[in-house]
Symmetry: C2
Subunit: 236 residues, 2 copies
């Protein structure tokens, strides 16, 4: 036995692998829904849109959850990945900025089934405070502190206009939020130790435009970006 505890999690999982674990989790859920009990790395890789060598390498960072000659037990592997990601319990999240996008996020049913629960919707505009979206009341942004402490919220979503994003981020950090998903265009800066991920619709379209333009120019090297960079659907 190793000198470390058996409930060991000290192995470092590469960031590229971390970003794919949720993809594998979703693929496994899909297989389970089809009533498939066992799968090979090849089958799971196809379902997840990656190649099987990469899948096996990724899974090897978590442990040995497969059986040589047989494959993986879908339910068992699903649980192990969920545990590794940390979505065996629900994470409370707050959404700030209940405009068009905030509405869409609040109504997104996929959050609940994937480990997240929207505990509060906050907006600075008093005109929105009457509203109830997806069963949750829109509250003043000033309620942030109370909400975060009441529900022990660690994750915040920014869906405000870009001009408000940095102020909102500062306030989120002040009240103890340590992970932020930012939908507002532009860079927000946060202290060390606070995680930020960014979703930017125009940037995604511009990346597509670049490749589209190369194709239009008849460039023989214009490749399918789906096979090359982040979480895209293409296989290879």
């Amino acid at each position: 036995m190793s000198p470390r505890s058996s409930h060991e999690t000290a192995r470092v999982i590469p960031e590229a692998t971390v970003a794919r674990l949720p993809v594998y989790l979703r693929a496994l859920t899909g297989l389970a829904e089809q009533g498939i009990a066992t799968c090979s790395s090849e089958e799971l890789a196809t379902a997840a849109g990656v190649n099987s060598a990469k899948l096996r390498k990724d899974l090897s960072y978590l442990g040995s959850y497969g059986t040589r000659g047989v494959g993986y037990d879908v339910e068992y592997l699903r649980y192990q990945i969920a545990r590794e990601i940390g979505v065996t319990h629900e994470w409370p999240v707050v959404i700030v900025g209940i405009g068009n996008l905030g509405h869409a996020l609040a109504n997104y049913s996929g959050f609940r089934s994937r480990g997240f629960r929207v505990v509060a919707l906050l907006d600075a505009d008093p005109a929105r405070h009457a509203e109830i979206v997806a069963g949750v009341a829109v509250r003043p942004f000033a309620d942030l502190d109370a909400v975060v402490h009441e529900h022990s919220v660690a994750i915040g979503v920014i869906a405000t206009p870009p001009t408000a994003a940095q102020d909102v981020a500062d306030r989120l950090v002040e009240v103890g939020i340590t992970s932020i998903l930012n939908f507002a265009p532009g860079v927000i800066s946060v202290p060390e130790g606070v995680a930020v991920r960014k979703v930017d619709l125009s940037i995604e379209l511009q990346i597509l435009a670049y490749h589209e333009q190369r194709k239009a120019a008849g460039d023989p090297d214009a490749v399918d970006p789906a096979v090359t960079f982040p979480a895209a659907g293409g296989d290879k």
Copy 2:
């Protein structure tokens, strides 16, 4: 002079660089709006949330658009990057699936200013066909072919429920769309030569949950993912 034409674009730009060009473009637009005419790589890097060595390396793939000892002309560099990305003219796009998210996308004003114009909103549900969103009428999905050919659309956005996504993708490809931005969870498969990018809200949250969990576990190696993987806001 090189043996190739002077209107040369044959240099291959790494995918990681391509994904950052839109970030630089946005940062330059921000500087221009502040009335700043010239900036150093250090200043632009800060505004874009990257380090200056990476910025200069990235820009070097486009050409030599700076002046040693001085820096970059904001307006000139902005134009050069816009040209490289291909957003000096507008790209017509169609959005398929006008639910909550489709509405939010249709209303997103940022598209227009960043090189995209929504020329059609399509939905399979006849109940939605009466509606006009952001000045654009919602039309039957069957109109896809007509719309795409009328406006020479190359880019399609999928905002349908996950069950419809693959069928919609197949149809988009059939009518000649070669770039797809997919908001529906799950993998869609497309033929070689069609570019797909994917935005998945739950996956982003799950990546944050993973890091949040590591922090909670008191893991000393738990790092800020903002500094590590794709287009995130953190500087370093």
